[in-house]
Amino acid sequence: MNVEFAALALILVFPALGVIFNLFFGARLGRGAVNLVGPGVMFLAFAVSTWAFVKILAMPAGGALYCPLWRWIEAGSFHVELGLRVDALSGVMVMVVTGVGSFIHLYSVGYMAHDEDYARFFTYMNLFALSMLILVLADNILMMFVGWEGVGLCSYLLIAFWYTNPEFAYNGRKAFIVNRIGDAGFVLGILTILSALAHHGVWTLNFVEIQSHAGLIGTTAATAAGLLLFLGATGKSAQIPLYVWLPDAMVGPTPVSALIHAATMVTAGVYMVARLNFLYMLAPDAMAVVATIGALTAFFAGTIAIVQPDIKRVLAYSTVSQLGYMFLGVGSGAFAAGIFHVMTHAFFKGLLFLCAGSVIHALEGEQDMNKMGALRKRLPITFWTMFIATLAITAVPGFSGYFSKDLILEGAYESGHFWLWLLGAITAGVTGFYMFRLIFMTFFGESRVEADKLHHVHESPPVMTIPLIVLAVFAAIGGWVGLPEGLLWGDAFARFLSPVVGNFKPAVEASPAMLSAIATGLGGLGILLAYVCYLRMPGLPVIAAWRAKALYDLLLEKYRIDELYNLIVTRPLFFISDQVLNRGVDRMVIDGAANGAGLVVEAGGEAARRAETGNVQHYAFVYLLGVIGIVAYYLYLVIR
């Protein structure tokens, strides 16, 4: 059942008004106005989203709200209409984006309280929310791409927010360019779908219409489109091979890391795959690639997180790793499980970043965990909320992450990806280790805080701690909407999404309880190991790092992937640009040829000028030669 609901447009209008207000009047009207408008528009959008979501819940399964906007582009038979659509899938996403987004905006009021550029900050944040909501609410893939690139832009602007630092500016650009590489694939993916359908006379980019004509897309086209779009997802959602930008993105203000680089934007790729589930179902090979990349990324990023000293970098690699889980889920066909993890991850990872921000705020910008420790008593709210989030991410039974991660691993196993399941289960242990390492190093043990900072370490103001508490509640109980089958209401989440993403069809029989026990056991093992290494025997990690120095350095230096990319992509590109094309081809060959032609003409003119000597005898002689020549020619004709 589809119902037109014009108020959906308001979800976009409010953040848009926020952008306009903060951009033009923010700096003039002062901090009070910006602090009211910036988060205010988000809460308004949240309210409208909740209204829409309640309407969806009240409708029979498979219902959707829509709101047509205007005809955007048309050329020949091709046309795109802008329109918004909320169904179960986008409903969940819009609730997460506006809900978590509102509280992070609120938190920012406190976090940015001492920054002069608050108006610019909230302009970007509102613009981000607008783009993200366009991405989620779009009823066609091209409009989705508008949001897709828009969030990338805001990510760039916010990473480079403190632009006077050249490294930050560089990291912002790096994020944008790496994302653009993915986006190039995304565009080709859109074109592949469009052209596959156009060959059958169907010109559409609308999700619903593509789905109803999906049969016309052949397996080859579906595989190509699926892989190309997934290339876009590896950029936006930081998967191998394009994940390199996300850890560097952590130089932006911490609320940005929470909102954009953990809770919302980076999950866009997962949302896209779930949204196009019908396309991916046509292309099992593309699905397998998605699942494999996801599992590999989850493990690979997890191992890097083990040794990082910077609290935000640990969380960044953890995000990359968790996103890998989500792709393992959707790649295995467990689309609902993937989206479920998007939701729980938004709660606990958003919270983790906000808590890290609270710690950093208290320590006046310190991010190195080697200079923290024993903060438990001084930052009690931060500690407890962060502890809950950690329990959730390490999938301790009962907490939100437990339910979603279990469903993903179950999906991976039951779809026949035994090795990927194993990798995912091992990663659960890795997650337990690095997360509890973070908790122990930050809040337990001896204090290593620098002496001059120690005496003004204080808990953050309520405007920051209230969002922490709210998110902690959701991080704890947010997973209860998807309980194991047979327990109370069972997996209500998957049932809610199934009209959009279909039901998971297992290929291999397995005992969910057994799989869950293995993963949870491995997670517990990781926690135990962290406990031993960082609380019981604090000297152990140092010895281990010294003993396995090569491995330790490799992990610390992130497998030197950045250096590799520099060597094989960036440096050759600049060399070709500067040395080969600019100095070589353009100036020497092409311009040389043109100037050479000019020189030939000039030389010709010079020669002609020499002939004009002004000497009459000279002319007469040439004249004579000419006459002889003509006579000789006629003689030749006669004789012949």
């Binding site: 205007w70 005809r71 955007w72 582009i73 048309e74 050329a75 020949g76 038979s77 091709f78 091209l142 791409f145 508008v146 897709w148 690139e149 828009g150 832009l153 760039y156 480079a160 632009y163 006077t164 630092n165 050249p166 500016a169 560089y170 912002g172 650009r173 944008f176 360019i177 653009r180 590489i181 986006d183 190039a184 565009v187 080709l188 074109l191 592949t192 469009l194 052209s195 156009a198 060959h199 059958h200 006379g201 590109l573 600049f574 070709i576 640009s577 500067d578 094309l581 600019n582 081809v585 353009d586 092409i590 311009d591 043109a594 000019g598």
Partner: protein, 558 residues
């Protein structure tokens, strides 16, 4: 025949040019030149409003005998292909005058205004001429004022740049003139009378060899103007040394004369050759896209960088044109407008910076955001529009071009898509070096932000970028019928070419074609579409290419 409105549009600037020559006061010169440029602007807005978007042929037509002995007529008309370019021309000329009066041109303002207004007459005339001789006259008229604009008000090696610009263009133009004369002679042979009238010349029967040679001559003339790789090297010099207004007009409008020439002359006059030449032009366009972006990346001079980015952007336009389908060509025309707006704005911004610091070396800047936030914000916006951010104008054109190209040849699209990555790379890197980071030169701390006049110049362009990005439908719908009509002739040639290759390949290929009868790409569908377009138009009822056998019958008999 309507009331001479196109004549008024073309010659009003010339009247203004004559008028400013009589003024001696500097302020009065600028003001009156600007006011004179507003009249054609108003006329072109009226034309846009009064334009019938369902009519494919020429509108507001004016036709008078000019030199009847040679069949030369004063024949003007406007259609969907030229309408928006006319609007772009009048907008950019007005903004250039408004900007230049603010201190950018510090000597001989009277002559400057004179040449700029004469240039406007040349540009508008070339866009509106329906007579090939008339077109050639205006085509050459454009050259002279631009030569003086670069040579007198330019910077650095301005004489070298001006001469290079004229020589490159003349080489192509002369070959085109020869081709025009040959074509007219062929028309006389076929129809028994001399005529330079374009609709008639579209129908001249030509042998394959003749058509190929003439297409080559036209294509070279236009390719130099575009400029396509590898005949682009005049552009960086001309752009770099030209005054700001000169660069704006050069990039914004004059380059479009090349792409417009392909759409109006080279392709519809010789559709059979154009269809054959598709692979060559797709390849050159793709090379141009990648090459222009790569060379732009490491330019030390801001203006040179923007100039090379034009090579890349115009590569996209050529790609769309030679996709030879509605999506590609609509996208190409749209991208011409986008490039005019966005690159014009970029040149204005670079000019404003030059005015303050008297240098364009990127290494001289850094950390500018702190001292000039409004400027930095506008620069960011324009840069994003140029980089094709969805929601702004550049994306609409680029996407349609990519779509058209993909439908024509997906490998070409796959290569071209790297252009959007490289485009973001050089723009963002430049931005970073100019605006971000610490202030490295103390003098940059004290430069002043934009004044009211400069903001007034930028505002219409910013508004256009937003409007064209969010609501392109009214613009594209106006060009659509004319593009379809132009493509009708091309489609027939495509069918011919396909049938030729099918006959060579045997019956298997043909069965495939018939299986996909509903496909828009199949020969039959193309033929149907072509015939429909033909029946819908009056002047185009004859075949544009009459070879040795009647074409439509042959095709439909299959």
């Amino acid at each position: 025949m309507s009331g001479g409105i196109l004549t008024a549009l073309i010659f009003f600037p010339l009247l203004g040019a004559a008028f400013v020559l009589m003024l001696s006061d500097e302020r009065a010169t600028w003001n009156s030149a600007f006011i004179f440029s507003l009249v054609p602007l108003a006329i072109s807005f009226y034309l846009f409003a009064a334009f019938d978007p369902h009519e494919a042929g020429y509108q507001f037509v004016e036709q008078y005998q000019w030199i009847p002995q040679f069949g030369i007529s004063y024949h003007l008309g406007i259609d969907g292909i030229s309408l928006l370019l006319v609007l772009l021309t009048t907008i950019l000329i007005s903004l250039s005058l408004l900007y230049s009066g603010g201190g950018d041109i510090d000597h001989r303002p009277r002559e400057f205004c004179f040449f700029l207004l004469v240039l406007e007459t040349g540009l508008l005339g070339a866009l509106l001429a329906v007579d090939l001789f008339l077109f050639y006259v205006f085509w050459e008229v454009m050259l002279i004022p631009m030569y003086f604009l670069i040579g007198i008000w330019g910077h650095g090696r301005k004489i070298y740049a001006a001469v290079k610009f004229v020589l490159f263009t003349m080489v192509g133009s002369l070959l085109m003139l020869v081709a025009i004369l040959y074509l007219v002679a062929a028309a006389k042979h076929a129809f028994g009378r001399l005529s330079f009238d374009l609709p008639l010349l579209y129908q001249v029967p030509l042998t394959q060899t003749e058509a190929r040679w003439m297409f080559a001559a036209f294509a070279l003339a236009f390719a130099i103007k575009v400029p396509m790789w590898p005949v682009h090297t005049w552009l960086p010099d001309a752009h770099t040394e030209a005054p700001t207004a000169g660069s704006v007009i050069l990039a914004g409008i004059m380059l479009k004369m090349g792409t417009y020439g392909f759409l109006r002359f080279a392709i519809p006059l010789f559709p059979a050759v154009a269809v054959e030449a598709v692979p060559l032009f797709l390849a050159l366009a793709v090379i141009g896209i990648i090459y222009g972006a790569l060379v732009a990346m490491t330019q030390p001079d801001l203006k040179r960088l923007v100039a090379y980015s034009s090579v890349s952007h115009l590569g996209f336009v050529m790609l769309g044109i030679f996709a030879l389908n509605p999506q590609g060509i609509d996208g190409a025309i749209y991208q011409m407008l986008n490039h005019g707006v966005s690159t014009g704005a970029l040149f204005l911004l670079v000019g404003m910076l030059y005015l303050r610091r008297h240098t364009r070396e990127i290494s001289e800047f850094g950390g500018l955001w702190k001292s000039v936030p409004i400027y930095a914000g506008l620069f960011m916006f324009v840069m994003l529009s140029s980089a094709g951010l969805p929601g702004l104008n550049g994306f609409v054109g680029e996407f349609l071009i990519m779509l058209g190209t993909y439908l024509r040849s997906w490998p070409a699209a796959a290569f071209a898509v790297s252009g959007i990555v490289l485009g973001a790379l050089y723009l963002l890197w430049t931005y970073e070096r100019v605006m971000f980071g610490p202030v490295t030169h103390a003098v940059n701390q004290t430069i002043r932000d934009l004044n009211l006049r400069e903001i007034a110049v930028m505002t219409p362009l910013i508004a256009l970028m937003l409007f064209m990005g969010l609501y392109p439908a009214p613009l594209i719908s106006r060009m659509q019928p004319s593009v379809e009509r132009m493509l009708a002739g091309v489609r027939i040639e495509q069918v011919r070419l396909e049938q030729k290759s099918h006959q060579q390949a045997g019956g298997i290929a043909r069965r495939d074609t018939e299986k996909q009868a509903d496909s828009p790409f199949s020969a039959r569908a193309a033929l149907r579409a072509a015939r429909e377009s033909f029946n819908g138009t009056d002047r185009w009822s004859a075949q544009p290419y009459s070879g040795d056998r009647p074409l439509i019958e042959t095709a439909s008999a299959k």
